[in-house]
């Protein structure tokens, strides 16, 4: 009988004993495990409820507002932005070429151009462009009208000066003669 066969016959004898021990241990520990699991679940639920309460409370909002409005926080933020470190950080960001690569990749992206095409063809944008064109035409029209009215008066004055007549006399009003 080889060593392997001997070991296999020993394990065959011991396996019922081991199985019995395992079942006994499981049965013994089951109440303890249940209690621990229940306690852990209750703790998690309690923690989740506490987080929800905090997030829903007005207190958190008030604390955030106070923090944002705090002079100290604002001073600290301002000092951080004005510091040499922030400037160096920005310089390093641009020197690294990351921004260039980002824009290169963006410009190479088919999705970006597709998005731009979609936006350009959208009814809102085309309507805005057409309104812009009409608005420009309106401005030109207003300008032409104003200038032509001035030219009316100027030509009339010039013609009257030419023949030595005075300006147009005021004539009485006619109630019916109004623009419909």
């Amino acid at each position: 009988m080889t060593d392997d066969e001997r070991a296999r016959s020993r394990s065959g004898v011991l396996s019922p004993v081991i199985g019995l021990g395992t079942r006994a241990a499981t049965a013994t520990l089951r109440p303890v495990v249940g209690v621990v699991e229940s306690a852990a679940g209750a703790g998690l639920r309690l923690q989740r409820r506490a987080v929800d309460r905090v997030l829903e409370s007005d207190e958190l909002e008030r604390v955030v507002i106070v923090a944002v409005n705090s002079v100290h926080i604002q001073d600290a933020f301002r000092l951080a932005l004005e510091s040499d470190g922030a400037a160096k950080l920005v310089d390093n960001l641009f020197d690294s070429g990351l921004i260039d690569r980002l824009f290169e990749r963006l410009l190479e992206s088919e999705a970006l151009w597709h998005l731009i095409d979609e936006i350009a063809a959208s009814p809102a944008v085309t309507a805005a462009i057409s309104q812009q064109g009409l608005g420009f035409a309106d401005q030109v029209g207003d300008d032409v009208r104003a200038r032509s009215r001035k030219a009316d008066d100027w030509m009339e004055r010039a013609a009257r000066r030419l023949i030595g007549r005075g300006p147009t006399k005021a004539i009485p009003a006619e109630p019916d003669a109004s623009t419909p």
């Binding site: 309507a127 057409s130 309104q131 009409l134 608005g135 035409a137 309106d138 029209g141 207003d142 032409v144 009208r145 104003a146 032509s148 009215r149 001035k150 030219a151 009316d152 008066d153 100027w154 030509m155 009339e156 013609a159 009257r160 023949i163 007549r165 147009t168 006399k169 005021a170 004539i171 009485p172 009003a173 006619e174 109630p175 019916d176 003669a177 109004s178 623009t179 419909p180």
Partner: protein
């Protein structure tokens, strides 16, 4: 712009409330308006003429018949031009050029021009142009800025301020949007 007082066909009735002042339109504005109309008519006639010439070039037509067709085309041009002005004056009182310049042709008492008077006014325009446009020079001296054609057809040309093309377009778009969303129409501002 000088806003002239409203003209009187007869004397203003005593005790009647004063009417709002109406600005009579002078020569320069009317020239611009007429130029726009002339450009529009010419553009349409060029399109029609080119189309007709293209069709005729495909057909074998004797020379005499071509002359007759050319005469018919010229007559159609004149009739079309007269109809263009007469119809617009007799309906809205505004040709497209007049609409751009915001002016309107009315009778002396502020009513709409009748078709036969509109045709007469067209003839008056031609007659006014014949003596080196002297008929139009009357506009510079008349108290109601009337030219020969206005005296002949008893009309005046007055300011007609209205919504701009952009305003009309915006209103249409808004109406379409409100109709598509089932919204009540917005109250006028």
């Amino acid at each position: 712009m000088t806003s002239l007082p409203v003209a009187a066909v007869g004397d203003a009735a005593v005790g009647t409330p004063p009417a709002p002042a109406v600005g009579y339109v002078g020569l320069a504005t009317r020239i611009v308006s007429f130029t726009i109309d002339a450009a529009l008519i010419t553009f349409v006639d060029i399109i029609i003429g080119v189309g007709a010439a293209l069709i005729l070039s495909l057909l074998h037509i004797p020379h005499d018949l071509r002359v007759v067709l050319a005469a018919i085309g010229a007559a159609a041009y004149i009739v079309g031009s007269i109809a263009y002005f007469a119809i617009f004056w007799a309906t809205t009182g505004q040709t497209p050029g007049a609409r751009v310049m915001q002016i309107r042709v009315l009778t002396s008492d502020g009513a709409r021009v009748k078709p036969r008077w509109a045709i007469l006014r067209c003839i008056g325009v031609v007659l006014a142009a014949l003596p080196l446009f002297a008929g139009f020079a009357l506009i510079l001296f008349d108290s109601r800025r009337r030219g020969f054609q206005d005296v002949l057809a008893r009309t005046v040309v007055v300011d007609a301020p209205g919504p701009s093309i952009a305003d009309v377009s915006r209103a249409k778009k808004r109406a379409i949007y409100e109709a598509s969303r089932g919204l009540p129409p917005a109250s006028p501002e």
